[in-house]
Amino acid sequence: MNCDRATRLMSESQDRPLSNGERTALEVHTWMCVGCRNFRKQVGFLRQAMQAFAKRQDDDDEGAGAGRV
């Protein structure tokens, strides 16, 4: 397992269930790799941000001026 592969599995975990083997290998890798630990949180945040972004497209309403900097 290297970081390229680990980030790919973290991404895929958002799109399909990982196998037990994949999960274990990923756990071991992220345990040792701070970059991938950060990436894992961030890829989760991306999904959350996209959902908030989608919602904003609906809500971003008459206050178009109000909330803006």
Partner: protein
């Protein structure tokens, strides 16, 4: 605007507001459909459908939510029925050109410049106008085909199978594209926002 004239009432539908709304809708549809003509068509249909009975809405916010809900469905429809958007060779080409392996060394480990650093309190950013400007700019930076499938997945909420059928790619191919889109976004948000020394978040934090 003729649509406004057809509906009685009020400043809810004044032509100035409608044209702003229309522009926002076209921008939204174009982001998903990648084609200005398809986008204009979808917006026209959505507006025509939505504005019948628009007087019922209490205010612009409610109207806009309604109009965008209709548009979103319309766009999803177009995406489902659109012919395969891309052929496999153009996908592969884009994937080769977008060498996300510039993030990793030969052995597949993070290059020191690109190793993700911790992001401070990302939740708080969701409340900050400035963050969303950066976020949109980062989304714009994702290569076109990757962006298309990423938006279908994360914005429209399509299942992966449906994306594969619509776009005409294998799931393996889709996973690669989604992975690259996420890598790009993560990299861009890190550089442009979270790691940026004088990011406005420091001033704007509540």
């Amino acid at each position: 605007m003729s649509i406004a004239a057809a509906v009685p009432d009020d400043d809810l539908l004044d032509s100035g507001y409608l044209s702003v709304l229309r522009q926002q809708m076209v921008k939204f549809a174009q982001m998903h459909l990648g084609d200005v003509h398809l986008a204009e068509d979808a917006v026209q249909e959505a507006l025509a459908g939505a504005l019948v009975g628009a007087q019922r809405f209490a205010g612009r916010a409610a109207l806009k939510t309604w109009v965008f809900a209709i548009l979103k469905n319309k766009v999803a429809d177009v995406l489902r029925h659109k012919q395969r958007m891309v052929d496999a060779s153009s996908l592969c080409k884009e994937n080769e050109e977008d060498a996300t392996n510039d993030l990793f060394d030969r052995r597949g480990h993070w290059l020191s410049d690109s190793r993700p650093t911790a992001w401070a309190d990302p939740q708080a950013c969701l409340e900050q106008q400035q963050f969303w400007l950066v976020f949109e700019a980062c989304l714009d930076g994702v290569p076109a085909q990757q962006s298309r499938v990423f938006m279908m997945r994360e914005f429209m909420g399509f299942e992966t199978d449906e994306i594969c059928v619509t776009v005409g790619i294998t799931s393996a191919n889709l996973f690669v594209m989604l992975h690259r889109a996420r890598l790009r976004l993560q990299e861009c948000l890190g550089q442009s926002w979270f790691d940026a020394k004088d990011a406005p978040k420091k001033k704007g934090r509540r």
